[in-house]
Symmetry: C2
Subunit: 451 residues, 2 copies
Amino acid sequence: MSYETYFAERREAQLNELKQFLSIPSVSALSAHKNDMQQAATWVADKLKEAGLETVEIHQTDGHPIVYAEHLQAPGKPTVLVYGHYDVQPVDPLHLWDSPPFEPEERDGKLYARGATDDKGQLFLHIKAVEALLREEGALPVNVKFCIEGEEEISSPNLPGFMDRNSDKLAADVVLISDTSLLEKGKPAISTGLRGLCSLEIAIHTANTDLHSGTYGGGVPNALHAIVELLATLHDSQGKVAVDGFYEGVPELSAAMREEFAKQNFNDDKLREKLGLDALFGEEGYSFVERTGARPTLELNGVYGGFQGEGSKTVIPKEAHAKITCRLVGDQDPALMLERIADHLHRHTPQGAKLTVVPGEKARAFNMDPSHPMLQKAADAYESVYGTRALFTKDGGSIPIVETFSRVLGAPVVMMGFGLPDENLHAPNEHFNLENFDKGLLTIVQFLNQL
Amino acid sequence: MSYETYFAERREAQLNELKQFLSIPSVSALSAHKNDMQQAATWVADKLKEAGLETVEIHQTDGHPIVYAEHLQAPGKPTVLVYGHYDVQPVDPLHLWDSPPFEPEERDGKLYARGATDDKGQLFLHIKAVEALLREEGALPVNVKFCIEGEEEISSPNLPGFMDRNSDKLAADVVLISDTSLLEKGKPAISTGLRGLCSLEIAIHTANTDLHSGTYGGGVPNALHAIVELLATLHDSQGKVAVDGFYEGVPELSAAMREEFAKQNFNDDKLREKLGLDALFGEEGYSFVERTGARPTLELNGVYGGFQGEGSKTVIPKEAHAKITCRLVGDQDPALMLERIADHLHRHTPQGAKLTVVPGEKARAFNMDPSHPMLQKAADAYESVYGTRALFTKDGGSIPIVETFSRVLGAPVVMMGFGLPDENLHAPNEHFNLENFDKGLLTIVQFLNQL
């Protein structure tokens, strides 16, 4: 039987199973859902057993459980580690949902529910693809491991430790993740890069009290003057980061990468109009997809100090604050970047102001060479199902756990996403286009068979 | 009988009268106190009648009443218009008061109550000084008018209109105001300048929605980057305002003014230590008293945009805001300054950002030549009572109504203050040092007699 026929015959039953999974409100961020997290983990474990995995384990952690499973009956063949997550984002604001987030509903070929695309729906494809191979062939063409966590939406606090302690158990030739998107409908993409991240908060303090601008204005430092003067030194007028050494470790864009980016045919004007902007803005000499895919940033996410109420208040504020995050690329070292930014800020702090810098998150960028055979095989698999070869893209966002997998396991990571960019992940009316449910199953089967 | 004896004999009775006045919670800002405002106005009118003023009128306005009184029995002699206000600031935070704000209490030679120094206590001195002259001499040495309002603490919205409509009635050779402070205990001062004011609010808008810094960071304008870059252009690194034409109308400090400022013997280091500052800050070439007394400013009173909560949020904010006030000196035109600042801001708005400017208040600076005979006579009066000649100072704050009096009535304004700088005006535990109650009565009598 062809896999098309196999999956077509089971489509309704499998969608009903997925709906069961989506009905479990496994919101990792909210302690009220602790039992739902256990239930979701158990559901995943049960489905892995049903699919025919040999060993299925639920590992308790300091947070939510990690489900591990394996099927290692293909000696001499590569080992594939599938990663996914059974936890979902909170659902607020609830009133903006057209159907309840944990009562899955099909409309117009889309399945609506929290987690439909991120990541329950995509994770489910892997379980059902492995099940199909085992039922149709009686064996798997490769060795398969699953590592499914319940804390992705809260920054995976327990997974890196689990990986370190179980690096032998998790060892694989390739890590396979479906938690990203096609470029657009019918246009598959494989992300070969994710930006890293570092964050910091700064505070400027001047006098020990707010002061009246009549009595003191012109004669004492103003924390807001100091912070805007300081923050303005962080970029040049073209938006390039002006911190010494910030671009250390940033690879120059190769002609090949530029060609790959150009293939996306990204329409800058369309984006500009959609966002209501007179002009896009960024480093000269780079297109939008290059700026967001292959260049680092330093963004002010929040700046505040002084009076914010209605009307005016003649106050000289004693303190001001800023929240900053950087996206990092290539070999930029997050710890070193935080140090250099702090140095820069200290060197540029205006007279009469005291600076405090509190460093925060640190995650390295992830990069894969698109010519890696595993990525080429993934592109082949997409091509055989979608009729068009996957493009290799760089994502502007950060999924720190991907870099951790790649580093701890020393294995290439294939980000084989089946979502679409407009499926409202993290937002009301999250959904999954069922066209990619169908094609996703076939693509995964194809990929595993080709390895 | 000497006036010393006259006032000494009546001291307790007069303080009890003042306590009555201070017991009326005449908070102009709060509509719940509307009846208290009427009661306070009536109290003032009654006391003016008791004192022997011929005509006493209560003028209703769109807000709180204005009390007018006159005694014009000195033909050929100058006319003095006394200005004061019977309204007080709100009392919050109430729990920080050591005794209830409207239950006046004497402690250590100080009278504690809201309004004790600002301005009921000081206004009361003028009523009692005129009363003393009438009782002791049977006549006044000059013509006297009183104009007492109830809206000073809410920016006097109705007084300028009243002045315009009644400029003949209010006509005077000198306006006498006791609503300021000595430099310090035993060291009288006459303010010969008040800074003007203008205010504006600005907003920067970029995209029509907040954006994710992973997906968009580096490729779109960030409202916070734009606003800090823009606001940083408003000053040079020495704190001088960098707006073209901002200093037009600012007089150079004369050697005489510098000498006058130097006489204050102001201790910059003491202030720096009190405020917990590593360094004071301001335009080069000027001392603290010169910077705050004779130089204009442009102060950021509030700046805000983006995420202000706990932790970090990878957002590119779509908007950012700033509140700005300027203190003006000399002939700086507030309307023109607002225009020039707006021009500067529009010229410096970074690419991709849209600027909105909303102008606010406008008030001119007030200046008197210290050599004016009225001011010299006021200094004589202080000298005869305090044993030391009053210094002529420039105040950094703005009392727009003073400039209005001077302009509408074409008369010099004598700011003969009897408060002290640490009497907690506008704050909990406001009080009035009774040493200056006693000396204030004598100084006013002396001044009126000398005219």
